[in-house]
Symmetry: C2
Subunit: 418 residues, 2 copies
């Protein structure tokens, strides 16, 4: 059951889907230029209308007038935990299990380092081939620093469960694949980790606020995630980390700073880790980024994530079907799972000239992105994407490929497409 | 030669110093409430007037309209290096030696980890007792993670030079003491480190933009510093790190991320560290915080740091002399060096009831801060502090102590004073 009409799919049918979309009014809560079709909310979420005034207040009132007093008077000091408690329900965590701080990679290092220290007899960090390279880099850096104390082992995603054994200290999995959007089996892999005494660590960057995640229900141990994708926290927004409550008393963060001390203002020479998830704080929190993310979380607090997921699956099915129906023979191949339930909130299409195709689409006001070697990645952010946008995007894609517009010489220049 | 008049110091004499102050017009470049005497610019710098409109543009135009395209079109991707190149002249570094990224503590971990890896036969991280506790915590976390591969050794500051030996991998010194403001001998300690083959790592949090620093001239190897103190980058602003060019080819950052990869968008499974200081990038840069810091750096680009230092020393000498002349017998003891050349841009006064005194001053519109166990810390940010402010602050201090106002019961409550 896709929810798509069985008959002819045309732009009017898409407009009818928009008319029936209960989430449609949320688009008005974002500042988005008309005429732009934004299929990159999985890389940088759009700007909530509430964010500019919120930031202006934080800057001119809290910083400008409150100055240092705002650390307590404006609640800056509590922001990592306060925002964490608002991310928690989106990922199936409880209050006190999530912290907003630092970048995803830095948080991953904290948790990997803590996990390796917590499993002293085990030397393997197990992950999957095709995992987001940055996550592999973080593990590589840790292993090199530890001079052979641990090693990164990667296996094909399908072999992951069978590869968990008593040598594995931590199983590091990205929940929704950054390229294809394939959803990993969190419950099954958590169970495998548990059976073998390994810790399970999840990267939720492409799942958070895109689909319901149940860290608690799956028995996940650790997780990290990104603030600037579906959460709409802004460019380089602070990231989050999750430490299951049952582990908070035993895990030690390798990145110690004064904010993670039990009494930051006691200025003791020795580190005593704060109880709770706050022990994973390190330096001073980035208040401007936190303020933007908090404004975005206000919006998420109003939204039913199940409804978001339903719309996301419908948008994805629509995109897949339109590509099937209208772009056949144009060199596209679906790289994402065809089944909506196994797919995150994006559709990836392989094309031999993927990079050129993405650039030609951008010139037509359709913003997607390219992921090496050949993936045209189209993100579907249900809070602000319309079904007619999907129609128009596929039409633009068809026009580009049918006319060979992507073969124009200027698209051959290889510049960064983030 | 203090530059202070020899005769009677009264408020009019202070006003005359303001009238002769070439930096006085810079105060107009900050948004500061009248009637507030802000002596905490060494903890959180004041808000530059240019920052709110700059941030508004970055948010609504670059993020809101440019969206993902702004990573290249608005130069976001180059911000860590671009801002680093603007911090460089303030600390005696060359273009390409400084990077703006992450927090001071996270950057310190990167450099300590790199230093320990670069000196495999040596097990000691040498630092000084009374160093900023967070710096010691970072070293402790690294040592614990490395399970005895290295240890943190601290000695009294005066014993530091003699304690450098062939066991020392890295000498970690804070240039200006966070509590007393005492300035360490950078040239002498760098020479000692060099003689013994150790790396010298400097925390410039309380020196950057407070006094000229000559990392290059002193032969410093590594450094970190803070963006939210004298630089005025905003609460939790991104920090910076410095790696001397001669070391960039050999040092490896233990915090690997995609931004530190030689080709971030190649999405290779193995990490190849970017050449140059960019190799010490980790995750995605916090663009909102970067934008605020860049606006503040615009202001610093106009300022002669020698003139700032001269005013800073004069303000400090004025404060010391006024406390001597007007607060004698009131239980205050100078904790900072009396000689201006050995003192950063702050004056620390010990008082048995220091915490209460700071709170009573805050209620009189004089914002300083308290550092355990007994230090009233008064920061002197020359870009926006007037000589009459120093007069008024000392008068408020005298009034509090002479009347016992700090003994009022509400000041006994121990709340965080950042």
């Amino acid at each position: 059951m896709t929810g798509l009409p069985h008959g002819l799919l045309d732009r009017e049918a898409c407009a009818a889907l928009d008319a029936a979309d209960r989430l449609a009014p949320l688009r008005g809560r974002f500042l988005l230029d008309d005429g732009l079709i934004y299929l990159d909310g999985n890389s940088l979420g759009a700007l909530p209308a509430a964010t500019p005034p919120r930031l202006a207040t934080v800057v001119t009132e809290e910083w400008g007038r409150g100055l240092i007093r705002s650390w307590t008077a404006a609640g800056w000091i509590d922001a990592p935990r306060r925002l964490g408690d608002r991310v928690a329900p989106l990922v199936g965590a409880r209050p006190g299990e999530v912290l907003v701080a630092d970048s995803t990679s830095v948080n991953l290092f904290k948790l990997l380092g803590a996990a390796v220290q917590a499993r002293p007899g085990r030397r393997v960090i197990l992950s999957h081939q095709g995992n987001f390279p940055a996550d592999l880099y973080v593990a590589q850096g840790l292993c090199e620093l530890l001079e052979g104390r641990c090693e990164l082992r990667t296996v094909p995603p399908a072999a992951l469960e069978a590869a968990v054994d008593e040598q594995v200290a931590v199983l590091m999995v990205t929940h929704v694949d950054y390229a294809t959007g394939a959803v990993a089996d969190m419950a099954g892999l958590c169970a495998a980790a548990r059976r073998h005494g390994a810790l399970g660590l999840w990267d939720l960057s492409h799942s958070t606020a895109a689909l319901p995640v149940d860290l608690g229900g799956c028995g996940a141990d650790l997780a990290v995630g990104c603030g600037y994708k579906y959460l709409n926290g802004g460019p380089g927004a602070p990231a989050f980390l999750y430490v299951a409550e049952r582990l908070q008393g035993t895990l030690r963060s390798p990145l110690r700073g004064w904010m993670g001390h039990a009494e930051p203002f006691a200025f003791e020479p020795g580190h005593r880790q704060a109880p709770g998830v706050e022990g994973f704080l390190c330096g001073t929190p980035p208040i401007l980024g936190m303020a933007a993310l908090e404004a975005a979380l206000d919006l998420w607090a109003e939204v039913d994530l199940e409804a978001v997921r339903a719309k996301s699956m419908l948008l994805g099915d629509l995109l897949v079907r339109l590509v099937d129906e209208r772009c056949s023979g144009l060199g596209l191949e679906l790289a994402s799972p065809r089944e909506a339930a196994r797919r995150g909130s994006q559709v990836a299409l392989r094309h031999a000239d993927g990079y050129r195709v993405v650039r030609a689409l951008v010139d037509r006001g359709v913003i997607g992105d390219f992921r090496a070697p050949d993936i045209v990645r189209l993100g579907l952010a249900p809070l602000y994407l319309r079904h007619v946008d999907v129609w128009d995007a596929v039409e633009a894609l068809r026009e580009v490929l049918a006319t060979g517009a992507h073969e124009r010489p200027e698209y051959a220049v290889r510049a960064a497409v983030t």
